[in-house]
């Protein structure tokens, strides 16, 4: 079976861990636990062409002011889920910086842009994200780790691009 490394990227508190937990374990916790370093989970997916793929999900702690995610955690990834929190516009800025960092340091990788927390009131939306990533033109999905909306769809969509 083919194995692919997927990096979870985004500012702290956007719900990267919750998305992985929902996707891999069908679990959701209301309590926020800041992630530390990286935690690796695995999940087998069935691609549209019938082939199976093992996704190694690298849940990487969020980018901080001044201190972005170390690229050593991203190297070797086949693609990434770029996660934003629709209620916090600064997470879009952070996402733009992360993509720049990855493309400068590693090169262009396929990614799916996820606007998380669709169960809450957003302050920015798909059009804002599309405007900021017009060059990359990624698939943009609204999601909710709490309700499960588009969680599996986001990972599967990325797997199809790998």
């Amino acid at each position: 079976m083919v194995g692919k490394k997927i990096a979870m990227l985004g500012m702290w508190g956007v719900g990267k861990t919750s998305l992985v937990q929902q996707y891999v374990h069908s679990l959701y916790s209301e309590k926020y636990h800041a992630s530390l370093g990286v935690k690796v989970d695995k999940k087998t997916v069935q691609r549209a062409d019938g082939g199976q793929m093992m996704l190694m999900l690298w849940d990487i702690a969020g980018a901080e002011d001044h201190f972005s995610v170390p690229l050593s955690y991203v190297r070797g990834a086949a693609g990434y889920l770029l996660v934003m929190d629709g209620t916090r516009p600064e997470t879009l800025d952070a996402a733009v910086e992360l993509v720049e960092t990855v493309e400068t340091g590693i090169g262009r990788l396929p990614f799916v842009a996820v606007i998380n927390k669709s169960d809450l009131d957003w302050t920015f939306g798909e059009a804002d994200v599309r405007a900021r990533f017009s060059d990359q033109d990624p698939l943009i999905l609204p999601s909710s780790a709490r309700t499960g909306e588009n969680v599996e769809a986001a990972f599967l969509a990325l797997a199809e691009q790998l």
């Binding site: 969020g62 001044h66 170390p70």
Partner: protein, 394 residues
């Protein structure tokens, strides 16, 4: 903060394995952060001179408070408080404790001991009381390498008492002969040009030993001038120091200090082993050591503990600041995640995670520390990466 704290704890070196000199890229990254902070404050200050449309209407002299000169430029700079870059590593392990009743106690003699000894020499001046107690954790080089560079070892008036497990005493003695007054002819001058004849301080050794496993056969031997049972606390003035064994490839001691109800636990180089077989002898020994550490750390005010790896690094999923991972099982060091679990369970008020891996770069250490800050807010306990050149008062 009391005028004279019960315990004043100086961290000279918290780096694991080897001293770290910041690379050019790291220096540039640190400068960029400082520059950003300074410029943000400068432009906020300039806004005071802006009109409703944001146009600045002021002379340079009005902004600076005088004509451009070194004095006015520096005075202007001093208006802004820019945090200095955090130094997480630096020298290898050395910590000094000053007690309220005037004693100096040093933990380990990594490369930080050179700087520590300079401070002690400056503090002592020409005073008559010139006794220093050194408590050793274990024999590895990064915990002994600074000994023969320390000014305190070269003044014949100084009395230096070293209390440690036997292998630590041996590590110091085999090349220097400071206790036995003998260096094997094949070792003399090989690792260091120095030896006891060139180091005129008065050295004494006290071997900390588990008497139940190995009772002393006499009062002393060529390496140990005396023995102390590990089950009993050492007392230095009003400070009680309880040594206990932790888990490392070499015999290794941790220490619990208590002075007037304030508690500091020093635990460098300890591995909470993450093996698959719970019956493996090493696994059992590690868990027993972890239980001892927890028992001695309950409700501590300050804990310094080895947290060199993340679990993913320990498991070999990833390297430290590298994609190439290798299993760290039995390397003798713990995972950051386990330190947090332990410190939370033991209700440790303030935890310093140290023995940093030398390969972890400056930006990543800052990134980790920012996350720890957020975790601290969540837990109501303080966690942070240990930094060199820091002082804590208890």
């Amino acid at each position: 903060m009391p005028d004279r704290p019960n315990l004043r704890i100086h961290f000279y070196g918290v780096q694991g394995s080897g001293s770290v000199f910041p690379s050019r890229a790291e220096r540039q990254a640190a400068a960029e952060v400082s520059d950003h902070d300074l410029l943000a404050q400068v432009f906020a200050d300039l806004k005071r001179h802006a009109d409703a449309e944001g146009r600045i209407s002021a002379t340079v002299e009005e902004v600076l408070g005088g004509p451009v000169s070194r004095r006015t430029l520096l005075a202007y700079r001093r208006r802004f408080d820019v945090p200095e870059p955090r130094v997480y590593g630096g020298w290898t392990t050395c910590v000094r404790i000053e007690t309220a009743d005037g004693h100096d106690i040093v933990l380990d003699c990594g490369s930080g001991f050179r700087v520590c000894a300079k401070d002690i020499v400056a503090k002592w001046g020409n005073r008559e009381d010139r006794e220093l107690t050194i408590l050793g954790s274990h024999s590895h080089y990064d915990h002994t390498e600074g000994f023969d560079q320390a000014a305190v070892c070269f003044d014949p008036r100084n009395r230096i008492r070293i209390c440690a497990e036997r292998s630590y005493l041996k590590a110091l003695d085999q090349n220097l002969g400071i206790f036995s007054h003998h260096v094997d002819v094949n070792l003399k001058g090989v690792v260091t040009p120095l030896h006891y004849e060139l180091m005129p301080a008065q050295f004494e050794s006290l071997e900390i030993r588990d008497f139940t496993r190995k009772p002393p056969q006499g009062d002393s031997d060529s390496l140990a001038n005396g023995y102390h049972p590990i089950s009993e606390p050492l007392r230095i003035g009003a400070t009680t120091i309880q040594p206990f064994e932790v888990f490392h490839p070499a015999p290794c001691l941790a220490y619990r200090f208590e002075h007037a109800g304030k508690v500091f636990v020093f635990c460098t180089d300890h591995e909470l082993r993450r093996g698959d077989d719970p019956e493996h002898p090493l696994q059992r020994a590690s868990l027993e050591a972890e239980a001892r550490l927890r028992a001695h750390s309950m409700d501590a005010d300050l804990l310094y503990r080895d947290g060199q790896f993340f679990q993913a690094e320990y498991d070999g999923e990833i390297g430290v600041s590298s994609t190439f991972g290798v299993s760290r099982l039995d390397w003798g060091h713990s995972c950051v995640e386990d330190v947090l679990d332990m410190a939370t369970a033991c209700r440790v008020k303030h935890t310093l995670i140290g023995h940093h891996d030398p390969n972890r770069d400056w930006s990543e250490r800052n990134w980790i520390d920012e996350t720890l800050r957020r975790k601290s807010e969540q837990e109501g306990l303080k966690f942070e990466l240990a930094r060199a050149e820091t002082v804590y008062d208890l």
